[in-house]
């Protein structure tokens, strides 16, 4: 087994991307994702890659667009306010069917907000990273190990479906260190060819075009329909989640990322008190793990959705539960992190209610 090392989440994302064959990184400084860019600026030259500090988030994402069109594995990282600026480029990537990996190490908002951890960009990530009809695959790791794993995998998924992929972390996960075993490196030369890329045609093929403009409505509609067929494929094959003590759970706590760590402690404490609580943790936020969550309806008599925002993923939980059980919400905002004690208190409250 490979060596276990202690790494920050931000650094694990960067190292794992390098190991996935990513050789191009474009970014702009923002707390709390800074270590990621710093790591890339140090390591990229050593592997013959490019680290470029762009003049803006807008430029950075459009560089991602360009490098992706040119056939490279490419990544950018930012935090909430910066990701808003990247929305333009992400939409264009989706419209031109270009793969790429975007990291959002979220902080409190709206506006300049705070630099403390938050999960308030759930809606942005899963509903509207930019204008137009499109979705991007969104991973929400909850440990440094999982950050390394999804970062490695994200490039394959992006290439396979020709879509942008986002990894949605937060300041807590980005800044914390945990033991991690890194994936074995891939040689970029061994990656599958991209015959659609704009690489210079060498007079050996018709010219390739990377483009999202279609002035004929019928053409654009057809492309949207085709893209949504691909999304259906993604929904069918890429849903990921973790279940913890859900088999007999009366109360299923639903949480992702950092708040799922807190929820897990609360579930353990509830079990110690004889309450049958479990944790359902989406790893993909889009596609939302609909099938996995639906399966918990067998035993669940109530749901508690815990987030570091004012209630965003809870919409998706309610769409799955369809009123068959009450869905309650506990949220902290602005950079506050819920404590296991307050989550436990809510579980106990719900337990009393459903026991009646």
């Amino acid at each position: 087994m490979a060596e276990k090392v202690l790494m920050k989440g931000n650094e694990a994302l960067a190292e794992s991307a390098l190991r996935a064959g990513c050789r191009f990184f474009f970014g702009y400084p923002i707390t709390p994702q800074t270590e990621l860019a710093a790591y890339m600026s140090k390591q990229m030259p050593k592997v013959g890659g490019t680290y470029l500090q762009a003049e803006s988030e807008v430029a950075a994402i459009n560089m991602v667009y360009g490098a992706s069109a040119a056939g490279a594995r490419v990544m950018t990282s930012s935090s909430s306010p910066g990701v808003s600026l990247k929305g333009e480029g992400i939409s264009y990537m989706a419209g031109a069917d270009l793969p790429g990996v975007i990291i959002n190490i979220q902080r409190g908002g709206p506006g300049l907000g705070s630099i403390q951890p938050s999960q308030s960009d759930y809606w942005q990530a899963t509903r509207a990273t930019g204008h137009g009809d499109f979705q991007i695959v969104v991973y929400a790791p909850s440990t440094v190990q999982e950050m390394a794993d999804v970062a490695f995998n994200a490039f394959d998924v992006a290439d396979r479906y020709r879509t942008p992929v986002m990894i949605l972390g937060d300041g807590l996960l980005g800044q914390m260190m945990e033991p991690v075993v890194l994936p074995d490196p891939v040689d970029p030369a061994d990656l599958p060819a991209k015959p659609w890329a704009t690489t210079g045609h060498k007079h050996a093929r018709p010219h390739n075009v990377a483009n999202s403009l279609y002035l004929t409505a019928e053409d654009l509609e057809r492309l949207n329909f085709e893209r949504y067929e691909r999304y259906e494929q993604i929904k069918a094959t890429e849903q990921r989640f973790e279940e913890y003590l859900c088999d007999d759970a009366d109360i299923v706590v639903v949480a992702f990322g950092a708040s799922a760590r807190v929820a897990r402690s609360a579930v353990n404490a509830a079990r110690e008190k004889g309450i049958r609580a479990g944790l359902f943790r989406p790893v993909t936020l889009w596609p939302f793990p609909v099938d996995g969550l639906r399966a918990t309806l067998g035993t669940a008599r109530a749901y508690l959705d815990v987030e570091m925002n004012m209630g965003q993923m809870v919409d998706d939980v309610r769409l799955v539960v369809e009123g068959r059980a009450p869905v309650e919400f506990l949220g902290r905002a602005g950079g506050m992190i819920p404590t296991p004690e307050e989550v436990l208190a809510r579980i106990e409250e719900i337990n009393e209610r459903i026991g009646e």
């Binding site: 191009f24 470029l52 762009a54 803006s56 560089m63 069109a69 210079g200 060498k202 010219h207 390739n208």
Partner: protein
């Protein structure tokens, strides 16, 4: 049977320009300039290595006109896109083709930073002092007192400020190797414009740094003039404001490339020019 002299081809479509109908208005100079770009790609035999980036504006469809690989960029972002393409394929010939709103307004940050980084790309800049595609609004290069759809009483510099002289502005940046302003209102000027465009591409192929050719152009449709009247208006009003000429040429200044010129310009700065005999260099 025809004799040899009759069979000789004297004029044909450049290979790097696809046989398609463009969307340009009658009298528009985009067609001339795109043809010049294609001729240069042919003459330098780089079409197969070329990757072009089209803007948002009247030339938005340029990705369908050029025969080389093409990328359609978001409004103003062509330099950022081109930067990344060149980093991925350093041996490719990468160019951005942009209008004034794209390059000098919404994409000004990308323009300036791409130039100052000395990205080894070529930019063809069409300056016709108006937003053409959206129907004739005031551009960053619209002249003072110029009437447009959004400056119906003439551009009032007290409220709308002054136009940007792009060639002059960029000439102060160290990453720039070659900058020239041309126009295409006469056969003579078309030939000069082609020479400039070719030189810009040669600058890139030689790895000398950023190159840009600004083409002072017309927009007969939105100016409300015939093509000939438009050229006359351009000569009378635009050329005094945007004088033609070479604004930077590091080779003519005696340097190998933009990097060498930049070092010489900062000769007095020890951080930029560490003593060659000293180990270690800049920290």
């Amino acid at each position: 049977m025809a004799n040899d002299a009759e069979a000789k081809v004297v004029f044909e479509r450049p290979h790097a320009l696809l046989p398609v109908v463009t969307n340009y208005c009658p009298g528009c100079t985009h067609g001339i300039v795109e043809r010049l770009v294609a001729e240069c790609l042919d003459e330098l035999d780089v079409e197969g290595d070329a990757i072009g980036v089209a803007p948002v504006g009247c030339s938005v469809m340029a990705y369908d006109f050029f025969g080389c690989d093409m990328i359609e960029a978001a409004h103003g972002r062509a330099p950022a896109v081109a930067t990344a393409v060149k980093r991925v394929h350093p041996d490719a010939v990468v160019f951005a083709y942009q209008g004034d709103g794209d390059l000098a307004s919404i994409g000004m940050a990308e323009t300036i930073h791409t130039a100052t980084r000395g990205e080894n790309i070529t930019v063809i800049f069409i300056n016709n002092a108006i937003y053409g595609m959206t129907g004739g609004q005031m551009a960053p290069t619209s002249l003072p007192n110029q009437v447009t759809q959004t400056s119906p009483y003439g551009r009032d510099v007290a409220t709308a400020g002054y136009p940007v002289r792009v060639a002059e502005l960029l000439s102060s940046l160290d990453g720039v190797a070659y900058l020239e302003r041309v126009c295409v209102d006469s056969p003579k000027n078309v030939r000069k414009a082609k020479k400039a465009i070719k030189k810009a591409f040669e600058t890139q192929v030689a790895g000398r740094g950023y190159s840009l050719v600004e083409v002072v152009s017309t927009c007969p449709t939105n100016w409300g003039l015939t093509p000939q009247e438009a050229f006359a208006w351009m000569r009378e009003n635009m050329l005094p404001y945007y004088p033609l000429g070479v604004y930077k040429d590091v080779v003519a200044d005696g340097y190998a490339d933009a990097a060498e010129a930049a070092r010489a310009r900062a000769a007095a700065c020890p951080l930029v020019n560490p003593d060659a005999s000293e180990e270690g260099g800049a920290r």
